[in-house]
Symmetry: C2
Subunit: 144 residues, 2 copies
DNA sequence: ATAACTTCTCTAGCCACTAGAGGATCAAGA
DNA sequence: TCTTGATCCTCTAGTGGCTAGAGAAGTTAT
């Protein structure tokens, strides 16, 4: 007889994609993964399309895309004739967001590093870190 | 008669420190700010020590310190004779965390930028962005 | 038969807020 | 005095993206 490809249980899908079991269930709950068909004993049963979809999701998450963005990208991926520009726009927007976060963190790094420049001075009374935090004027980084 | 310094209401404290009213109440709830004394009509009433403390908190938050870290720093600030090294250690740990996040984001930026390099190619079917996300092998960035 | 494993559902927690409902109080003007 | 609008109160629930745990039921290996 031909190899009958039974559906994978959730643990198997988890091992194949590197996405944890509760996370898969969570993705189903929020609609990012479809509701899996169930076996007679109510276990979820997955096929290769699910493996692909979840791998796509994992990959996009690893690149920092948000759940909503991934949903859009998956929709686009399902329509091979729609214009590529939409997917590009999402990725470019994400790139700008990443760059903005990097800039912000670099500003923070500069400020925190500057706070530490002088090194420890014995007691808190002379501590540059506490002093800078207490006195806004000594620092440049603030949300303005 | 001398200028009697009545306590400030929460909105005043908010304006002076730039911390929103619900956030101040939240800080009280989690114990980062002390429970403010109340007026006869149950309004919170603040003094200059509260202004200082909240300004310290706001400043530290702007530098990305977590609530727990700020709690520690405030404790230290209250003991001027304790060693400065403790505060420095917290700040150095924070600096390392910031640097780790920057590194991670830079790796993401590289990958997402590489995904976009080729530019749009008409339809999703030939879309590099979708292709990279679908095929792990085309990408280097993953949590491994 | 039994033990170990996996799966199921459900609830609650994480961080640092933010938003909104529904009500009380206050200050200033007509 | 009445009214208007600002401010204040408490409480609950939502954000994102999971993670942890309880308690029960089913599966697999020995």
């Amino acid at each position: 007889m031909a190899t009958k490809s039974e559906g994978l249980p959730i643990g198997m899908l988890s091992r194949r994609t590197g996405v944890k079991v509760p996370t898969i269930r969570y993705y189903e709950q929020i609609g990012l993964m479809p509701s899996a068909p169930r076996t007679a004993s109510n276990r979820r049963s997955y096929g290769s399309a699910d493996v692909d979809r979840l791998a796509f999701i994992r990959h996009a998450r690893a690149l920092g895309f948000g759940i909503a963005e991934i949903g859009e990208l998956l929709d686009l991926a399902g329509h091979p004739d729609s214009p590529c520009a939409d997917a590009d726009a999402i990725a470019r927007r994400h790139l700008r967001a990443i760059e903005a976060r990097i800039s912000r963190l670099e500003a923070l790094r500069t400020e925190v590093a500057r706070m530490l420049e002088a090194g420890p001075h014995g007691s808190i009374g002379q501590c540059r870190v506490i002093e800078v935090l207490a006195d806004h004027a000594l620092c440049a980084a603030d949300g303005h």
